[in-house]
Point group: C2
Chain length 553, copies 2
């Protein structure tokens, strides 16, 4: 049998080492689902497409590429937000959407699920991806598929492929092998940038490395570790880059987040005479909502395709090449002044006190084991988690820039399929859980064992200090009763430290399925990091209210 | 205090008679939420933005205009699909999205929730609405707001307003009163179309009216009734137009859906020598997936801005004006040959037999009372419901063209706020319920009392006959246990007719809150209408699989 567009696509998914795809079927993509089911690739069906989008995002962050399969518009437009997040945070997902057949479109115009025109969804995804193509011609399909896979990997961002249902079984034409030319640095510029950087670093008295999330995405953690080991320069991380550098490493300083982070890290970084920003997007959260104070004249900044040193930039220097070359340079290891290295907080001795957010996170920190991955949803789950000490062998995952609520529970599905040996520890607020938490059904279906901790404080705790009203309340759920609805799970509540300790042990021992711990927290309690953050955000909202003119704030 | 852009917008919402808005707050729209909370407009917070989009859609279908308030990107992009459905099915929603302040954008570029550029979300909504504007200038804001409200009402379709957070409290400039010119028909063309139509109708032997959904949207039901009464011409409805004409009216023929509908209605319509298509979009589902066979040479087709008679068209003739003029014409009522008028099936005598889909819908039909509104989700819930006899005083609502699964439960929230005296009777499949069913939490929060019937057949029953696989299965939930999680509700199961009868009575008597009945159905059981439909759809999928060339099918 000749290869079809559908079977070509399935083969390419396999060749990329993608073992699982996430999605929800619909009549416009049934043929493709059937091809997948008859291949070694496993379909992970989620309850709603939103869950599939977030799960694919998490899978891509761990494995370097993921696939999400949906139907036309009623499926595709439901993942618009998840794919936007993947774009913003550089997570490479191939979205494959079914669509009305090419032939049936010619005959009829008002086919179900259509919005304005047949290409409405394609136009929407052009805004949310680094590449979007309709596979409506068997002669060009192979090239389009190759181009999109290459774009996704090169930019570490999502792409979109639209597969009209009659094309899934259309015989595919030969590839013209017009793949993207291999990406390379301008060799002269790379050498010049390297030479200037080495000179600056050697001349500096207190250099420091600030590690960002692109080190994760482009898998440059080994080069970073090598650079730190060989130079002896200490490493701080941004919140998006958390765990890109092993936190137990003696060269680790801690998280740098401007005024939000810990004072000693801020001091060290801001007093440095040579900050090396490696793969760190200059986002508001990464910069402590612009409370960061790094002198750019003293900074070396390696972003994806360009390296800036002080006030000038070298174009066409790839981050990978620059960081690799730096790590291979013949450094003489330097002795640095002693600094405070974050320590694992050690065991937690529970009392009968009611849980505070601060105590909860200390307790969770004592609980995190090797081979666990902490997945933090935006909100206090994330800010509290930013102070967790992540030991070697444990991992950390959070959408800390785009910050879409409801990421964490579906992300656990992606993590568990991408790295079956990791146990997901999900930290999620009650408001966020109400958005996507029912994807625990998918965990039950596929026998996954995430431990989900719901921080139950009756609403959007991050917003209350900015501007409060009844609109920040959410309806109370008895989250711990969900096993009755979904099966396969263990539901618990905890209001005191001792109850929490018991619940954590039970959850750890319940290895065959999911667990949920509903943690009762006071409505106005916050993590120390959130207290610092919301004070800043609140200032901004209030100043906007006071000063109607856009120039006044 | 001078009026701000935010307070102007709130005042205009009030003036339009919109008493409730649907949404989820976020930091970029907190100021606007606070303004709403301090106004007579009530905020209905949903669990997820998707629910707010669907609820607003239902509200708009009943009340003629609705408002959905979300935050930037992480909220807005989550309603992309619901707004696409509102576009496709002509439901006028004003989407108001918060956004980063104008001033803070100038200073910083990587603010949280941003995708590619600050206008990414605006560009996306241009594809999904009849108008989209950013309120980034106090001098033009009032005009933009007026223009968008007018566009939404004129086209009965969604519009998008983006409100940067610093603009919510910026003093608004005066309106230039550049509102849309009033829409009117070309008077000469209207007169000519009317005269030709009257002549054709009078000369025909077996005229018939086919009533569509735009009669609902543009509130032309009284004109339709008047036309039918004065001419004596019988009326059939499309599935989207169901209940636009009272089903107990002696002039009602039934639902026309090509080969999917009942044979006697099909015969009557297709043998007519003058079919008057009034406000009926020629969609695939409306036309029984193109099994309809209406001779366009004999048809009078009134669409929103144009009337076609036979093979020619009159442009700039508004549907409202044409139908009103037709209804006011000096008709002589004609006697028509007797035809079968659908009858209420009468009381249902339950036995101990296990429920079939067919028996379930007969039983539900006997249960529907005055002041109930049937809300059917796509799938067999909709196809089974298409055969329900909706008595006077009862209503019917379904997204029968765009067909997004998961509409019905959140739609009940919109219905209950738009028309508090109506009791929603929600029919929803298990797959669709898993997408949005947890919005019952919102029903619990606001004390609403929908009756939700979950058709539990273990998966996507509409897809199985087309092409089956494990991907069509969903995880089993114990839906009837949801009151333990959400509170305020009554959960029941029914496997036999008698159990269903008991459950329906209990649900009806539980007037203070929501009820859910989980109905056990055989995996391969289907309504008669779905059997006819899926046979057609299956042919199409299978023929696409067999014939790889797009031209061959």
């Amino acid at each position: 049998m000749r290869e079809t567009i559908g079977s070509y696509l399935v083969r390419r998914i396999e060749e990329e080492g993608i073992g699982h795809v996430f999605g929800v079927p619909g009549d416009y993509c049934l043929t493709f689902f059937s091809l997948l089911e008859n291949s070694p690739v496993q379909i992970i069906n989620t309850c709603d497409e939103q869950g599939a989008g977030f799960a694919a995002d998490a899978y891509a962050r761990l494995r370097g590429l993921a696939v999400c399969v949906v139907t036309y518009c009623v499926g595709g437009l439901k993942v618009a937000n998840a794919i936007a997040q993947a774009y913003a945070e550089r997570s490479p997902i191939v979205v494959i959407s079914g669509a009305p057949g090419v032939a049936e479109r010619r005959r009829n115009s008002l086919l179900h699920h259509r919005v304005k025109d047949f290409d409405t969804q394609l136009k929407v995804f052009r805004e949310l991806t680094v590449g979007a193509a309709a596979l409506d011609d068997p002669l060009t399909a192979a090239d389009e598929i190759e181009r999109m896979f290459a774009l996704a990997k090169r930019h570490s961002r999502p792409v979109y492929l639209e597969l009209p249902r009659d094309m899934a079984s259309a015989e595919i034409g030969p590839t013209q092998a017009r793949s993207l030319p291999p990406e390379s640095s301008d060799e002269e510029a790379l050498a010049a940038a390297l030479s200037e950087a080495v000179e600056r670093i050697c001349a500096s008295k207190h250099p420091v490395i600030l590690a960002g999330e692109e080190l994760h995405r482009f898998r440059l953690q080994p080069q970073l570790a090598r650079l730190a080991d060989r130079t002896g320069i200490p490493v701080a991380a941004t919140i998006l880059g958390k765990s890109a550098f092993p936190e137990s490493h003696p060269g680790y300083l801690g998280l740098y987040e401007g005024a939000i982070g810990r004072e000693e890290v801020r001091d060290y970084v801001e007093k440095s005479d040579c900050v090396m920003l490696l793969g760190a997007m200059m986002t508001d959260f990464n910069l402590g909502l612009y409370t960061a104070n790094i002198d750019r004249r003293d900074a070396i900044y390696a972003a994806k395709d360009r390296v800036s040193i002080g006030l000038h930039a070298y174009d066409d220097v790839r981050m990978e090449d620059f960081i690799s070359a730096l790590s291979e340079h013949g450094w003489q290891r330097r002795d640095v002044a002693p600094y405070e290295h974050p320590q694992h907080p050690g065991p937690f001795a529970p009392s009968d006190r009611e849980l505070t957010v601060e105590a909860l996170f200390r307790q969770i920190n004592a609980f995190i084991e090797k081979d666990m991955i902490v997945i933090a949803d935006p909100g206090d789950a994330l800010f509290g988690a930013s102070d967790l000490f992540i030991s070697d062998g444990a991992h950390f995952l959070a959408p800390a820039y785009y910050a879409s609520l409801g990421f964490a529970v579906p992300a656990a599905l992606g993590v568990k399929t991408a790295a079956p040996t990791l146990r997901p520890l999900v930290l999620v607020g009650d408001g966020a859980f109400q958005m996507t938490g029912m994807e625990l059904a998918t965990a039950a279906r596929f026998g996954m064992n995430p431990i989900v901790i719901v921080l139950d404080n009756d609403g959007y705790g991050t917003e209350r200090p900015m501007l409060d009203g009844r609109f920040n309340d959410v309806h109370r759920w008895n989250y711990s009763e969900l096993p009755r609805v979904l099966g396969g799970g263990l539901g618990m509540t905890a209001a005191t430290e001792r109850e929490m300790a018991d619940a954590l042990i039970k959850a750890r021992n319940h290895e065959s399925g999911w667990s949920l711990i509903q943690v009762a927290l006071a409505r106005d309690d916050q993590s120390p990091a959130l207290k610092r953050l919301t004070a800043k955000l609140g200032d901004r909202v209030r100043s906007a209210q006071r000063s109607p003119s856009p120039d006044a704030q």
